[in-house]
Symmetry: C2
Subunit: 443 residues, 2 copies
């Protein structure tokens, strides 16, 4: 058996990196719960026909089948590629026992059979929040979700030193209404071209739109709309100046203005209206969100989502929803690969209990138990080596303290300073900052 | 689209059940970290040839393949069926950057294509601890692991009211040495029959052993050994009384006696030596553990494991390990299905901020933000309904408090008692017991 090699696209972390990931996940969970989101988890698999409904993405699904399934058995299950489709199914399945509007967060792995490359993974962790209601969902939730997400990301910026973010928001109804006002019917076809704006530039997009049958004026107006981006509600006047009128356009403008204005009051500088944002997934019907790390825009969106008015429907009742997803792996993996995030130590242990000889191991265990009962993470040395070797065991793991002897003759050494003092296992406390591993980011 | 139905063997929880599961997982994590175990996660998939090595289980593996893989593409990946095999692979892959002995915990889902039935799932959560070392692993870790596991399970007993547990421990070297002393060479064949003792009784097992070529005396001795179970080290004398001698038997007896004696001092009454315990998986080579819930023995083992001396080897170096796994789903699902575990509420929210009218929603958000900044989970009411309706919104979710008005004219009502008092958003605190959802078990 030779040394196994990593599987491309399936990132795995060192214990130190995992401490950082847990730090991030704990803070996301705390922020979500402070906003009243309840946790759920869904199974890893969904029926293939439910996954395949999301047209664009079916080619990237992983099929799951028993190794010894009958030769002619048809594959029926696939690994979920996001948390929105499983959540919509969960809502339908459990509607009778949920209270609406239902607010949930969900932190799980998802899988996509994509070609792996930097920022693209085959297995990755997402942290989603969604609110769904029965029949209709109030517009203010489209405002609420980016506030929660931005607060979560802001905390990673201030506490961990991750780069600040900028969320770009648009509304599909705004674009749809605008296009309708221009006399364009195939909204999706236009959006597909406009989505290429950043890659190929406005002239090329106009060319493509004209090829598609738009007049020069229509194509110019579409690109003009996509070009608008403001940090306040002034985008409304800029759109009006393009001279298009339509009732759906009015609704879209009002909805987007409410998002931008509220965000401007509560999280200034972190959210802009950007009328070229489209989002790929078919199920979005209104507000759409994308978020980039400032200074690392080329890594792509680290938090995306939108409103989906008809994803969850059982034929009788529809459950409209709005959701935002934080790409935890996408956020962390590039920072890990550049060594920009570090933890103070790769283990939870604060103190190592030295062992004098194997006969007294039980006394060392008893000391350890007393410390653990007061919340101090403690290991007993694995071998009754010379003290110097036991200290090196701690040092290699960056465990800050080593404990010698049994009460009433116990002493603790801070192996960073060399200071050693007599202590009592019922009372000794490490420095507060040493109690848990701390993490540090690039800032 | 009709209402979707659950997939048999893939349990999903309600938000209230998920709160209970998170409570359990948080406490397991805390106990593991207090003992110096570092967290890792491994990817969900392993190469099929690595999974298939564990003879018995390969028929239950789920294969994973891209939906649009080439027709003749050979499946190469499968979902992991436990956390030990992936961990052994992780150790080999990362040995150059790990410190040995390496202590890790791992809480993840695993998948098995088994026929679903009560207590058997196709997707379930395990919480594992393992210690591996380079070349040799000290015997005291076989003693340490059950102490940590029993402490974790004891905490669920005292804090949550789960039933107490009894861990049964054996050592394969003890049985091997005993059989060798009897002149039996095919240990595995004997173990397979002895494993049926509880199901078919001693007479039938003796019959099967004789059919396999053992003498009547040999068969009697094997069943005699399997019949021994003691809560202290007295099993050693009982084995000696069977009159078999062998150096490996001596080693096995000493190792098992050390486990039982130390457990007897630190967690009295929770661990016994039971010489019929075999464990199915081929990779165990020494101590083996099984754990049942007292009074619910028929649910099977909720925590199992053992020592594996040669699972992780790259041809040059071997990394022996010892591990124990807690079956979190197996522990919780039967209690959920009987309604024996409840949470005080199905949401994290402590207080609902009532909204007077949509124009003042922003003031309500500002109050909520002040409370959240002090760690109080707060929701803003989704609709500016009459107060009675907003109180019903809270009541249906068992949210204990509703907040009315904006400072300086704020009041909080405890909707359980009806008591309503003027409060300040910078200072109000809920009752301590209300801050987080609490959980309650059957006891």
């Amino acid at each position: 058996m030779s040394r196994p090699r990593p599987l491309s696209g399936f990132p795995e972390y060192t214990p130190e990196q995992r401490i950082i990931e847990q730090y991030v996940l704990d803070r996301l969970r705390e922020t979500f719960e402070l906003h009243g989101f309840a946790s759920i988890e869904t199974r890893a698999v969904e029926p293939l026909d439910r996954l395949a409904k999301q047209g664009e993405i079916d080619k990237e699904v992983y099929v799951v089948q028993r190794l010894h399934a009958a030769e002619d058995a048809k594959a029926e299950l696939g690994l979920h590629f996001d948390l929105t489709v499983p959540f919509a199914r969960y809502v339908l399945e459990n509607a009778h026992q949920l209270q609406f509007p239902f607010r949930r967060y969900q932190i799980q792995k998802v899988w996509r059979g994509e070609r792996p490359q930097e920022g693209r993974f085959r297995e990755f962790t997402q942290a989603d929040i969604d609110i769904v209601d029965n029949t209709t969902l109030a517009a203010h939730h489209d405002v609420e979700l980016p506030l929660v997400t931005l607060q979560a990301l802001e905390r990673l910026h201030t506490d961990l030193g991750l780069p600040p973010v900028l969320m770009r928001v648009n509304n599909r109804r705004l674009a749809q209404g605008f296009y309708a006002g221009l006399g364009i019917t195939d909204t999706a076809a236009v959006l597909r071209q406009v989505d290429k704006l950043d890659k190929i530039g406005p002239d090329k997009v106009i060319e493509l739109l004209i090829e598609q049958g738009l007049s020069d004026a229509q194509a110019q107006a579409c690109v003009g709309l996509a070009d608008i981006s403001t940090a306040d509600a002034s985008f409304v006047d800029q759109v009006r100046a393009l001279g298009v009128t339509d009732p759906e356009l009015d609704e879209g403008l009002a909805l987007l203005a409410a998002v931008v204005e509220t965000a401007h009051r509560h999280v200034p500088g972190r959210l802009v209206a950007d009328l070229k944002i489209a989002r790929g997934l078919d199920y979005y019907t209104g507000t759409v969100y994308e978020t980039e790390l400032v200074g690392f825009e080329k890594w792509g969106s680290v938090s995306s989502g939108g409103r989906y008015d008809s994803l969850a429907s059982d034929g009788k009742t529809t459950y409209p929803g709005v959701g935002l997803s934080i790409g935890v792996t996408r956020l962390l993996a590039p920072l890990f690969s550049r060594g920009l995030l570090t933890a103070s130590r790769p283990v939870p242990t604060v103190v190592l209990i030295a062992v004098d000889n194997e006969e007294s191991r039980d006394d060392a265990i008893a000391v350890a138990e007393r410390l653990r009962s007061r919340g101090i993470a403690t290991e007993v040395a694995p071998k009754a080596d010379k003290y110097g070797k036991q200290i090196r065991y701690a040092d290699r793991r960056r465990i800050p303290y080593v404990w010698f002897g049994v009460p009433p003759h116990s002493e603790v050494k801070d192996i960073r300073t060399g200071e050693q003092l007599p202590v009592d296992p019922g009372r000794w406390e490490p420095e507060g900052v040493d109690l848990k591993p701390t993490v540090r980011g690039p800032a």
